[in-house]
Symmetry: C2
C-alpha cells in the first residue's frame, strides 16, 4: 500500500507542525508522522513545562507546597498536549500518521505501526525529528535516580537534593527554578564556566547569582561513582575528590543528540555531518532536491523559535517556489530563562574575533546597577547590556543582555541589527523611564562619547581596519 502526498513532515514538534499546518492551510495534501507525543520537546518536555515551572517558582511563597507546583506543571503540560493532539487530527488536508518512518528512497518512506507496514511517497519531505538528551554513564548510579528533561516533568515529588550535571541552558534554568521551590541544588560540569555558549561576562553573572542562592557549581568536574546505599556521589575535579551527600536525583543536561539514526538517511543519499547534523545550503536545502531539514537536526537551530523560523522558510519554499527567498537565514536570537535571564543576538565571540579586527570593534558595556535608575529601584546587583559595534558607523554586530526580562528586550536588537540601524539612530530614541531598556540609550550614549570627540581618529581606524583580518595574536587580545 503506497500513499502519495504533496509533502510529508516527519516529526510533530513545534517546527514540524509549523510546516504541516501551514501547508495544509494552503490546500496542500500533507502527511504528518509522529512516533511519540504530538507537540514534540517544546510542549512535552521542554519550553512549556519548564517555563510553567519557572513562572510558578518565581511566585513560590513560604508555606506553599512544592509537590503541588510540580503537579500543576504536569496538568498544564497535559492539557496543552491533549489540545494539540486533538487539533492536529481535525485539520483539513492533513493526515496524521503514528509511527517511526525510515527512508527507502529519496522521496519514499516506509513506516511500521501495529505490525502493519505502509509506504508513503511525497514531492517534498521535511525532516523535523529533533533531538534527545545525551546520556551519561556514571558507575553505580541507578536508573531510578537519573532524570533528563524527558523525565523531569513527570516528577510528582520535589527532590530534597537535586544534583545537576551540566551548566548549559537547561541545567541553569532548572537549577534556579528548583532552588526557588525549596530543593537543594548542586551542579557540576566539565565546562570551564557556566553557559559556555555566551560571552564570559554572562558566565560571571551566572556564577555570582548561583552562589548568592546557595547553589554550588563545580566546573571542570566529572562524576566518578555513585554509592546508592549511602546516596553519595563522588566527583573528580583535577586531583581533588568531591563527595556529594544525600543525593535524591541526578538531572543529566549535558547536551543533545540528533534523532537521525532510525531515518536511514543514507537510503535517500542525504548528506549528514556527524557533528553538524544534516548539511544544508544557505537556503536550507539538502543535497537532495525536495528534502528539507528543520530544527535540531540542522546545524544552525537549537531552539523552538529558530525551528519555527526555518519551518516558515520551508513552507514558503514549498508553497511559493517562484517567490524569492532571503539568501540567508534570519538572525536567531536566543534566551536562557535563568534568574537573571540571558539573551543574545548576533555574532558569537568567536565569529566576531574571526571576522573583524579587534581595532574595528567597540565594545560598550552598561551595567544596570550603575547606569540605570531602574537597577537602583529594583536593587539589581548583577546584569548588563553588552554591545559590540563597528566603530565610526555604529553598526551593531552582537548584543547580550543579562537581567530581568532580557528575553523580552533582545528583540529590540534583533530589529536594529536586521534593519542595520546604527547606534547613532538608537541614540535619538526615547525610552520609558525608569526601565531596564533605557540602558539601551546609555549604550548608544557611551558609544557616542567614545567616538564623537575624535572623529578623525575614528575615521582613520575605520579605514585602516575595515577589511583587515586579525592575526592570531591580535585575536588573543
Amino acid at each position: 500500500m503506497t500513499e502519495h502526498f504533496s509533502t510529508i513532515v516527519i516529526g510533530a514538534g513545534s517546527g514540524g507542525m509549523t510546516v504541516a499546518i501551514g501547508l495544509a492551510g494552503l490546500g496542500r495534501k500533507v502527511a504528518l508522522i509522529e512516533g511519540n507525543h504530538v507537540g514534540g520537546d517544546c510542549t512535552n518536555v521542554g519550553c512549556v513545562p519548564s517555563k510553567t515551572l519557572i513562572h510558578l517558582a518565581k511566585n513560590f511563597k513560604p508555606g506553599m507546597n512544592a509537590d503541588e507546583v510540580l503537579q500543576e506543571v504536569i496538568c498544564k503540560r497535559d492539557a496543552l498536549r491533549d489540545k494539540e493532539t486533538e487539533d492536529i487530527k481535525h485539520l483539513e488536508n492533513l493526515t496524521f500518521v503514528r509511527g517511526m518512518a525510515k527512508f527507502i528512497a529519496p522521496k519514499r518512506l516506509s513506516l511500521t505501526q501495529d505490525g502493519i507496514s505502509r509506504e508513503l511517497t511525497a514531492d517534498n519531505i521535511v525532516i523535523a525529528t529533533g533531538s534527545r538528551p545525551r546520556l551519561l554513564d556514571i558507575p553505580g548510579l541507578p536508573d531510578e535516580m537519573v532524570l533528563t528533561n524527558e523525565s523531569l516533568f513527570d516528577l510528582r515529588n520535589a527532590p530534597k537534593h537535586l544534583v545537576i550535571v551540566g551548566a548549559g541552558v537547561i541545567a541553569l534554568e532548572m537549577a534556579f527554578a528548583f532552588q526557588k521551590i525549596g530543593t537543594r541544588v548542586t551542579m557540576f560540569a566539565l565546562d570551564r564556566r557556566p553557559l559556555m555558549t555566551a560571552i564570559p561576562e554572562a558566565s560571571e553573572v551566572m556564577q555570582a547569582e548561583l552562589e548568592r542562592r546557595g547553589i554550588t557549581l563545580y566546573c571542570g568536574t566529572v562524576a566518578k561513582a555513585c554509592d546508592v546505599s549511602t546516596r553519595t556521589l563522588t566527583l573528580q575535579s583535577g586531583n581533588e575528590e568531591i563527595v556529594l551527600h544525600d543525593v535524591d536525583k541526578v538531572l543529566v543536561a549535558v547536551g543533545r543528540v540528533r534523532n537521525l539514526e532510525s531515518l536511514e538517511l543514507e537510503q535517500a543519499g542525504v548528506m549528514v555531518d556527524p557533528k553538524l547534523g544534516i548539511l544544508v545550503n544557505s537556503y536550507g536545502e539538502t543535497n537532495v532536491k525536495g528534502v528539507f531539514p528543520i530544527g535540531d537536526v540542522t546545524p544552525t537551530s537549537a531552539f523552538t523559535h529558530s525551528a519555527n523560523a526555518q519551518g516558515r522558510r520551508v513552507t514558503q519554499r514549498i508553497a511559493f517556489p517562484y517567490l524569492p527567498l532571503a539568501k540567508k537565514e534570519p538572525l536567531f536570537p536566543n534566551a536562557t530563562f535563568s534568574d537573571p535571564e540571558v539573551a543574545t543576538v548576533g555574532l558569537t565571540q568567536m565569529e566576531l574575533e574571526e571576522k573583524y579586527h579587534p581595532q574595528l570593534i567597540k565594545r560598550i558595556r552598561v551595567d544596570f546597577k550603575d547606569h540605570t535608575d531602574r537597577g537602583y529601584t529594583d536593587s539589581i546587583e548583577n546584569g548588563f547590556i553588552i554591545v559590540d559595534a563597528i566603530r565610526l558607523t555604529g553598526q551593531v554586530l552582537h548584543a547580550t543582555i543579562v537581567g530581568p526580562y532580557a528575553s523580552e528586550m533582545i528583540s529590540f536588537f534583533t530589529l536594529a541589527m536586521s534593519q542595520k540601524i546604527s547606534l547613532h539612530k538608537i541614540y535619538r530614541l526615547v525610552y520609558p523611564y525608569p526601565t531596564f531598556s533605557s540602558g539601551i540609550l546609555k549604550v548608544a550614549d557611551f558609544f557616542m562619547r567614545a567616538t564623537l570627540p575624535d572623529l578623525g581618529k575614528e575615521l582613520a581606524a575605520y579605514l585602516k581596519y575595515r577589511f583587515a583580518k586579525p592575526t592570531k595574536e591580535e585575536r588573543k587580545k
Copy 2:
C-alpha cells in the same frame, strides 16, 4: 550684584539636570537654580520612590511587614537624593543656586535667598520648574488625612484603608502597589474609565485587574463630604450616594498643575497658554529667543523620559547651534507601571481618528492568553498588543501593550515607528520562544493574513482613502 552665565537652568529636576550637567560638561558656564530638593519629582516624590515601592510590593510575601517596606522606600529615596545633591555641587562649570527665581526681563532673573537678593543674567534660560499635584477640596477632610505624591513617600505606616481619588497613571500605580502590601484600597474618579489617556481596551484590562484584586473603583464619582469622627467619606455618583467606612488616608491623584506662577513669565514676554503651558514651536523654542521650556511646563511632556529628551534637544541647540535639529520632537512612548503594565507609543486614538480615514487603518489585536504560549505558561488572563497600521503598507501608527514588562517591550515599536519599519519587515524577524514579545510576530502574522489574500482590494482601499479625511459620522464608527 549681577552675575552672568552662558545658561541658567531653573529647576534641578530630571530634565533640568540633563541640560545643566550636559552643558557644564561641554565647558559652558551654567547656573542651576532649585528652590526645593535636587532631583525634582522623579527622585523625591515620583518615579524613584514609586518604582522602589512597586518592586518591593511585587516581592511582598506573607509574614512581611508593610511598614518596613515603606521605610526602605524612604531610605533608598534619601540616599539617591543625597548623592545627587552632593554630585551637583562638585561639577566643574556649574554653579548651584538655592532659591526661587523670577523673571525681571527676557534674560534676567531675580532671586531672593536668606534675605539676600541677587540678579542673574544669561544668554539662554531653560525653564524646568515642573509641576505639582492638583489639590481637591473635600468638605470635612482634615489635612492630616490627605496625601499627594509629594507626601505619600514620607509615610511610615501603611494605611489600613487607602482611598485614592483619580484613575490615572499615579492613582493606578499606587492602587496596585498598596494592595499588594496588604492595604485595602478604594478608588473613585470623575473619569468614565480608568486610564483615560489610553485606548478603551487598556481601561478594560485595568478594570478587570482592579476587580480581581478586590480594589473597587467608582467611576463618574465625586466626593461630597468627610466625617472625620466616624472616618467615613461620602461620595456622589449620579443620584446615588456611596459611603466609604474606616478611611485612614485619602491620596489625591487627579492631575497636575504647572509650576509657572512664581516665574512671572509676563516680565519676559514669554507666551503661555493656561491649558497647554508654555507655548513652543516644533523646535521647542518659545517666542523669546534663548528661552526654552522643558518637561512638565511644556505642552507635550508629562514624563521624566520626555523631559530628558527635550533637555537633550535644548542642550544640542545651545551647545551646537549650527548643527541641524530634527524638525519634530522624537516619539515619546509612555508607560504605566500598574499590574499588568500599560505602555503606548504613537498616535492617540483621537489623533488617529482626526488624521486618517478609518478604512485606511487596520487594527490588529493579539491577546497573550489566546495567541502566545507564554501567556499560557504564565497563566495570563488579561493583556494584549494592539497595533494600528496603514493597510497595504503596514506602517505602524500606534501600539499599545498591556501585560508583564510592557514598559520594556514598547521600545521595539518606538524603534520600528521612528525608522518606518513596516509590519512586513517585522514579520520576518525571529523572537525568542516562549516570550510575550513573540506576540509581536503574531501581530505581523495577523496583519499579513488580513491583507495578503486580496492585495487588489487592499491596494484599491489604500489609494481611495490615503488622503481622505474622515467625516464626523465615519469617525464615530
